[in-house]
């Protein structure tokens, strides 16, 4: 479904991604783990068209999306839940969700999607008229995910959904991600919380200073000594 070939990204003189290869198949949860500064967010930004790579290409469902504008990539069914949630704090929960369905012209379809998002996230329904800035961190994360779901993505890319959340909430968020996947959305998940990510993903890639250093089925990686030492605190 998504195939990244030999991706090189620079920030000025800094070589941030040094030839990333990555693949996500339909129906999977794939996770990309690694330390701070490894290039996880850069990879996701490049996928969504927010950053242009110097070399390499990104193919989504057989189409080259490497040079496509962000809004066109969203239109193809690839939505991102950005790091730090990035909800529109000045707008109501409802307006945030409406913005998630910005490309859908039919109002009936939009309200149908909203009903479904409210079913998945009853908390958002309760807070429908509140401005997003007044929500708690966990609720904002739900809103960011609900907003992305409004676009009915085929592939949902999540950047550090557990960041800054209490352990109990992290569990909830991962359960929701799993459910979204079971309902038919393919997931690419970037996480620092490696043990949680490996527990729900079928495959994983480990990123270190702009390179994929390890990849394979999550269960195997979770057992690997190198991973345990570096990321799982064992």
């Amino acid at each position: 479904m998504l195939k990244i070939n030999d991706l090189h990204v620079y920030y000025g003189a800094i070589h941030a991604l040094k030839g990333i290869n990555l693949e996500v198949h339909e129906g999977e949860i794939v996770t990309l783990i690694g330390a701070n500064g490894a290039g996880k967010t850069t990879t996701l930004h490049t996928i969504s068209g927010l950053i242009r790579p110097k070399e390499g290409n990104i193919v989504f469902e057989g189409n080259d999306i490497t040079k496509m504008a962000p809004q066109k990539i969203v239109a193809r069914g690839l939505s991102q839940v950005p790091e730090g949630r990035r909800v529109f704090a000045n707008l109501s929960v409802r307006k945030n969700l409406e913005l998630g369905a910005y490309l859908e012209k039919n109002r009936k379809v939009v309200s149908h999607h909203m009903e479904q998002v409210f079913q998945s996230f009853p908390r958002l329904k309760e807070r429908e008229k509140q401005t997003a800035g007044t929500l708690s961190g966990g609720e904002q994360q739900m809103l960011a995910m609900g907003r992305a779901l409004m676009n009915r993505p085929k592939l949902m890319v999540l950047d550090e959904p557990s960041m800054g959340l209490a352990p109990l909430l992290v569990k909830d968020i991962f359960a929701i991600i799993k459910r979204i996947n079971e309902e038919g959305t393919t997931i690419l998940l970037v996480e620092q919380n490696a043990s949680m990510a490996l527990s729900i993903a079928s495959r994983a890639y480990v990123l270190e200073t702009g390179k994929v250093v390890l990849s394979g089925p999550s269960a195997e990686l979770a057992k690997s000594e190198a991973i345990k030492k570096a990321y799982l605190g064992g």
Binding site: L50, A69, P70, Q71, P82, L91, G100, L103, G133
Partner: protein, 294 residues
């Protein structure tokens, strides 16, 4: 008491023009955090298009307004695409200096194209004085037209920003451009649309200024532009109701100073008021610290 009310009525019509110009500044600031110093020149171009529409093409005032809105929008969007867009990722100072350069370019271009003379603006509607309360106050048909057109434009703006899809996109872009593009919003188009709206309001203000002062000139945009910028800052830059409040306040202050003291002092007083308000409340009257922009 009668002078007071008469001056307030004067101030309201001039203030409504300032408010329209200030809205242009504040909209553009809200979306790309740029003080568009060329906005006064957009207004001047609008006034000249209005003049040609009436004097040469023989259109009525409403058609003239529409045509000048159209031409000014075009110029506004061109300026944004040519001069500001390439600098969007550079520092704010570079764009600001570019805006000042654009303003000078258009002023001097105007002097070359339109000449250096003041041009009498055609009196498109008959100047009828209406006497109110047994003739104690006089309101002219011009004042009413200026006030009515300005209020109509402001209502239209509130509707677009508050209740339409593109308005919602503007608010999203002003808050977070990257997040907005992840929603599928074409950020460049939304920015252009903001320039269309700001420039249209500027064009209307230009034509109304022509009606108000009865002459137009290539440098006519400079002082009202500066005043409206003051108005926008006074009300809280980036805040729409703030620009309206600031505009009306400024118009009324000017009228009162002119009426009770001397027209010589109206400009210094305006700037003193700005300084005082910025000392007391640096974000402007309606500005918030975590400002909701656009």
């Amino acid at each position: 008491m009668e002078t007071l009310i008469a001056q307030i009525l004067n101030g309201l019509s001039l203030g409504s023009i300032y408010a329209l110009i200030a809205l242009g500044y504040t909209m553009v600031y809200g979306i790309i955090q740029l003080i568009n110093f060329a906005h006064g020149e957009i207004l001047m171009i609008g006034a000249y298009v209005g003049y040609f529409s009436v004097a040469v093409l023989g259109l009525n005032i409403y058609m003239a307004l529409l045509l000048s809105m159209f031409v000014s929008s075009l110029v506004g969007v061109l300026i944004e695409r040519i001069a500001y867009k390439p600098l969007r990722k550079s520092g704010r100072l570079s764009v600001l200096i570019t805006a000042i350069g654009m303003s000078l370019l258009l002023q001097n271009g105007g002097l070359i194209v339109f000449g250096t003379d003041f041009v009498p603006f055609p009196q498109v509607i008959e100047r009828i004085p209406y006497r109110l309360f047994g003739g104690r106050f006089v309101v002219t048909s011009h004042q009413i037209l200026i006030f009515a057109v300005s209020i109509l434009m402001m209502l239209l703006l509130q509707y677009i920003v508050g209740y339409t899809k593109i308005g919602m996109a503007m608010r999203a872009v002003s808050y977070d451009k990257e997040a907005a593009s992840l929603m599928g919003i074409n950020v460049d188009n939304v920015i252009s649309f903001t320039f269309v709206i700001g420039s249209s309001l500027g064009a209307v203000a230009g034509v109304l200024l022509g009606l108000y002062y009865q002459t137009i000139h290539p440098l006519m945009g400079f002082m009202p532009g500066l005043k409206a910028f003051v108005a926008a800052v006074l009300g809280g830059i980036g805040v729409i109701p703030g620009a309206m409040l600031g505009g009306f306040l400024l118009g009324i202050i000017e009228a009162l100073v002119s009426g009770y003291w001397s027209t010589t002092y109206k400009d210094p007083v305006v700037f003193v008021v700005l300084i005082v308000i910025l000392i007391v409340k640096p974000t402007g009257l309606l500005g918030k610290n975590t400002s909701e922009k656009v």
